[in-house]
Symmetry: C2
Subunit: 459 residues, 2 copies
């Protein structure tokens, strides 16, 4: 397995790069890879290759990759498709072992394109060369300041997340999803999502792996499941977004990547088997990823919910059934603690309606109820739904829940998700950002799905 780490490392962190098809156009709209690479902070050697120029961005430009004097760790090919097969052969002669093909118009469009691709794959295979693409923006690595993207990027903060996409859209990023490394596998004529999962498994900097998939090459299903099992065995979380859920979606995939679209039900079943959460859009991805990074895992699937409204309780009950969670049978101690602060006529169930009890003092109720469910051995995770508006003249902390969470949540090894129903979501999020074992999400369904992701591991 360590082999794959060495093989793929030049794609993420090369010592030297040849840019075949380098351009002298710069600035907005120029899509100049070399310019982006330099401004992103790449410190290795860059060799521009283009027979039309003697110099690109102040560096010597070569007619052919074979003319480069030094070693080429990675070659980036961005030339019209019919030239690519010849360029790949030149790379083999130059003993380049890692190639990114940015160019489009190969197997995904059929005909001539398919022929070009077959020729490239054949050349590479014989030479032991690894290819990323075609039709890819390549890689992007915040840890080591490398990007191969022709879309310019700035540095930002990052988390220990590795991303694998069958699309370049990840290079625009997603709000609140700050991955550290990303690869667009494009047409996957060689390197595919399975290879990159294995690479990330061996990468000590990566704790969470997100895979956007449209399909896999025939026969790679088993390898995919094995790679997932290995990742989980090493304590890495996985998240998968598999598109092409419908028959028309599958047909759209075939025209997009040319890769075989997996029968969706088969794939869904396989993901369940290896307990990997499937996300359905980018907003959901951000939510689940954040919960997995910040929260402890659940020991079982039993939730307790403290709510300011029966309405949110009902939504949570619906969502729990959908996502395979249960509402815990609360211990007698928990029921007693809540009952003591509630009107005598209130039946104490789960979800626990803490609203009537708040009327007698919200700080005490929040603290008492939260402590009770965190200590309750029948409870594996706690959902708190609060009712809070930014157009209330009261400060966010009025109800006492912020203080209660800060004091209690870090003391127990259970995930706590807070859903502020109302307009005061951002302030609540900021108030609880640094609190251990707590995340703030925007909707009840998101919260329950996040809990479900926290149970997706071996108990």
């Amino acid at each position: 397995m360590a082999e794959i780490k060495e093989e793929l490392e030049p794609f993420f962190n090369p010592e030297s790069v040849a840019i075949i098809g380098a351009t002298t156009r710069t600035g907005a709209g120029a899509f100049n890879v070399m310019e982006n690479m330099i401004s992103f902070g790449y410190r290795g050697e860059i060799y521009p290759v283009n027979p039309r120029y003697d110099e690109v961005l102040g560096r010597k430009c070569y007619k052919d990759v074979k003319d480069v004097e030094g070693k080429v760790d990675l070659a980036l090919i961005a030339v019209p498709r019919h030239i690519v097969p010849g360029v790949v052969k030149n790379c083999v002669e130059k003993k380049v072992s890692s190639v990114i093909i940015v160019s489009q118009g190969f197997a995904e469009v059929g005909g001539e394109g398919k022929k070009f691709q077959d020729e490239i794959v054949d050349t590479a295979k014989k030479a032991g060369m690894r290819i990323l693409g075609p039709n890819t923006l390549g890689t992007h690595n915040f840890f080591d300041n490398f990007t191969s993207s022709f879309i310019p990027l700035k540095k930002r903060e990052y988390e220990p997340i590795g991303v694998i996409c069958q699309t370049g859209l990840v290079f625009a990023g997603f709000p609140r999803f700050k991955y550290g490394k990303a690869v667009d596998v494009g047409g996957s004529c060689d390197i595919d999502p399975v290879d990159v999962i294995k690479y990330y498994v061996e990468d000590p900097e990566i704790k969470q792996i997100f895979v956007h998939m449209e399909g896999l090459r025939p026969g790679r299903g088993r390898a995919f499941l094995e790679a997932v099992r290995e990742a989980k065995g090493k304590g890495k979380d996985l998240l998968v977004m598999k598109v092409g859920e419908t028959e028309t979606g599958r047909r759209a995939i075939i025209s997009h990547t040319g890769s075989l679209a997996v029968e969706d039900k088969v794939f869904e079943g396989a993901l369940r088997q290896v307990k990997v959460p499937r996300v359905r859009d980018y907003t959901e991805l951000q939510t689940i990823s954040h919960a997995l990074l910040k929260l402890p895992k659940m020991r079982g699937n039993r939730l307790a919910m403290l709510t300011h409204h029966g309405a949110s309780g009902v939504m949570a009950v619906d969502a729990a059934e959908e996502f395979g969670l249960k509402f815990a049978e609360l211990s007698e101690e928990t029921k007693k603690a809540v009952q003591e602060l509630s009107p005598p006529w209130l039946p104490i169930g789960n979800p626990i309606d803490i609203w009537p009890g708040l009327m007698g003092g919200p700080e005490k109720m929040h603290k008492t109820a939260l402590k009770a469910v965190l200590e309750d051995k029948n409870v594996d995770g706690v959902l708190l739904s609060i009712h809070i508006a930014d157009y209330s003249p009261w400060p966010i902390g009025t109800y006492g829940h912020i203080e209660a969470l800060r004091e209690l949540a870090p003391q127990y090894d259970k995930p706590v998700i807070v859903v502020p129903i109302g307009t005061e979501q951002e302030g609540t999020r900021r108030s609880l950002e640094e609190v251990k074992n707590v995340v703030v999400l925007d909707s009840i369904r998101d919260a329950v799905k996040a809990f479900s992701a926290l149970t997706s591991h071996e108990f």
Copy 2:
């Protein structure tokens, strides 16, 4: 029908209010209705009623509602539940025709509570009194500065939206969903969602109605559908969130409101019949509501999509199948216009991959493709998925899509939804906020669901 407008008007905009159970406690955590009402700008008469005080907030306090000299347009009852039946009788004697019962612990908890409620309903029915509640925060009206809520609220901007909830959580508001009037029907012992739909239908200030439902009283299903049809006939849009989708969810409802939870499939079928979009969480509500307020309706269900990535195209194709939309057969003119700017090997389908063509000049491609689909008679709505990051050093308008949208979208009577995949969502939203016929949403699924809501009307 005009009758219902008169009957319910005192609940939203009373000339005078008696607050039975008024309190002298004020400030954060006091839940003082009278204090809130005054600070919200209510200009009518307020009569505090509480035998324990002579004065509340500087106004004369009455021992009994019957002692009030002036006319009481609306009485708000917030006293322990066992006192409520007697207070309601006093209201009848005082000839109060509109009563809000804030108190909790009635039919929803069964036993004694059920008996109290039956007694109240009986008294009210005989007197021709209308009751809102029990277990309600009442109403909230930004048009006329009235709130009956014991949770304090500040004024904010508002849109012509009327809300009906079987919960008080609407009083915390939802981000980006600025309704103008809201009612919490609570336990619905008398006034129910159907009554309030009819009220909003007669209200010239309301253009959109949102209903959060847990259930209806037996026999009200037909009246509900009739009210919905009438609302749509008068050009008002409806949105429904019906919780209790699952069997456990239904049981949770029964314990929350005591109202009968409708069999979910029956309800779903009925909504389809009257073409009312169903939303599943508050974030979805905001999205669909915004699209309905700002966009023209679709004449048919045929979408065109311009996309920077095949990946978003596949997601849209999946979502279209789920939400009952089709991808249009593009006209020959449209195909030709896009093909001319694309590489010759690119097949022009729908979704239309405009990315390869962008490489030759993004401004021209965006303008040409957008104009083509807006003019295409086979297309009823346009989805534009752009790839844009805030960590790009380029400004948002670099691709030329903002300019193209500003120039072209207002000229055609078709809805255009823009989904900026990437971190630059807020800037894109701001840039297009004022542009007619355009909204910016965060995810492809949301966009397709919004288009589906725009087809939910008679063609």
